[in-house]
Symmetry: C2
């Protein structure tokens, strides 16, 4: 047994639902095959709802609520893994959290991007062991199996080597997509981030939109007692008609400092295969 | 003299600055020519800062602050007209408002889009006669001179015919770009909108992003005592990989209703030549 891992001899049942946009059966099959080969003790349960489609979403708001709630309230399920992001969890998270029973509190919840709406709302409600990290959809990236393995190493083994390298014992952490969290401020989904090191990442936003979201987030968190902010990867920045004139890190430093939030450097999270695991709150391994 | 207009025999001096992105001399010349022909009593003062460029912006944050503050504090200037939007006013509005003197309180301020950051911050501070309406940049739209004339009809004549047709005496109003206002919530720029009819418009956003911004805005304003919300034009919606499944109006109704905000129908504002004038607060004509 590798150092830093925990032996779990009983099966680990992982329920997978799609609170945002639809997943594909082909991608699910690839994740199933990887798990069957490398994690024989894991049992992946892709809820049929993952493949529903209703306009932009993986089924109606009601269907996405029902799927998540059924898995979270199922005492035979150990972990909930969100299939993919996109957009949609903000439309169902509050209602879904309201339907959770005490059995939901002991489970692991894992995802990122738009799933941050559920991670945040669960953490706010004190439900579950929340972590920001890869999703089944990452199987679609080149070499995406590294990201999927990292997620399963976390869920099945609670393996310390998969953690974001700068996480520190005795510190509280939380991690989000910047735009997702910016849109959660002031709503019933955002958790109390007092004394937390907040890590944010961004994907596919113009730098002016990144700057605007950072203005909004740092202004809103200015008096919330953050320990500080770290910046993950900022990827796939679209070209504008002219250069913005500042890097994502310079933007983050400026808005953090003008709002009296400590800027604490870079962290290894993002919409990419290097996306490391960030458990919310204190490390508990 | 046309019915509903006010005679102003003395010159009206209109100071123009660019709190967001750079304007062009060619467009300024076209607006100057239109004003010289149709509004002989108007004197347009395009501050040189309108043509500055610093990365994305019309000069540095400091230069954009200084230009706006100098015009607003100039006792010989009657109105401030924001040249164009883009992004940038959120970076300078708070500091700029802090430098205004009492002479700034009697002026008209007009703009829309990203300039909403300044409109909101001015209104919050109780400074000026604020209105949401066309900018010099609208001269670049096909038949854009209609929009530019509407703005000058407001500034020079306070002409009632240019107002958004549903505005009602005895009601307070305010108007914003949706994304701009969504990013102002919780910051020092957003004004008190209690008892106001809020009109929002949007441009060039995917419907999922429109839905997300509406979730954020309505959640944040749920307990702020709005009289209700109206929807302006939602233009140039990019195609997503699949249809969203709801119209902008259905999205607005749903988020308004779930946050106990009255949905009051459509209004004629937007990023187009039909963009009508919405004075903030009570009509005062």
């Amino acid at each position: 047994m590798a150092q830093g891992t925990i032996s779990i001899s009983s099966p680990v049942r992982i329920g997978i639902c799609a609170p945002s946009t639809p997943f594909t059966r082909e991608a699910a099959d690839r994740v199933d095959a990887l798990a069957a080969e490398a994690y024989p003790q894991a049992e992946l349960i892709f809820d049929e709802q993952c493949f529903f489609q209703d306009g932009h979403f993986a089924g109606t708001d009601r269907q996405r609520i029902d799927s998540f709630v059924a898995l979270a309230n199922d005492p035979t399920i150990d972990a909930i893994w969100f299939a993919r992001g996109g957009y949609g969890a903000a439309r169902m998270a509050e209602a879904a959290i309201g339907q959770l029973e005490s059995v939901a509190k002991s489970k692991i919840y894992l995802g990122y991007s738009d799933a941050g709406n559920l991670l945040g709302a669960l953490y706010r409600a004190g439900i579950g062991k929340i972590a920001h990290g890869p999703m089944p959809s990452d199987i679609g990236r080149p070499e995406g199996e590294h990201a999927v393995r990292r997620a399963l190493d976390w869920i099945v083994h609670r393996q310390r080597t998969v953690l974001e390298p700068s996480l520190a014992d005795g510190k509280k952490h939380a991690a989000f997509n910047l735009m997702t969290l910016a849109m959660m401020t002031g709503t019933k989904l955002i958790p109390d981030l007092r004394d937390h090191i907040l890590i944010v990442e961004e994907i596919s936003e113009y730098l002016y939109a990144f700057d605007r979201a950072m203005f909004h987030l740092c202004s809103n968190l200015a008096s919330h007692g953050l320990s500080g902010i770290k910046l993950g990867n900022v990827g796939d920045i679209p070209d504008n008609d002219r250069p913005f004139g500042e890097t994502p890190e310079a933007i983050t430093k400026r808005w953090a400092e003008s709002n009296h939030i400590a800027y604490l450097g870079r962290a290894q999270i993002g919409h990419d295969i290097e996306n490391r695991i960030v458990p919310f709150g204190l490390l508990d391994l």
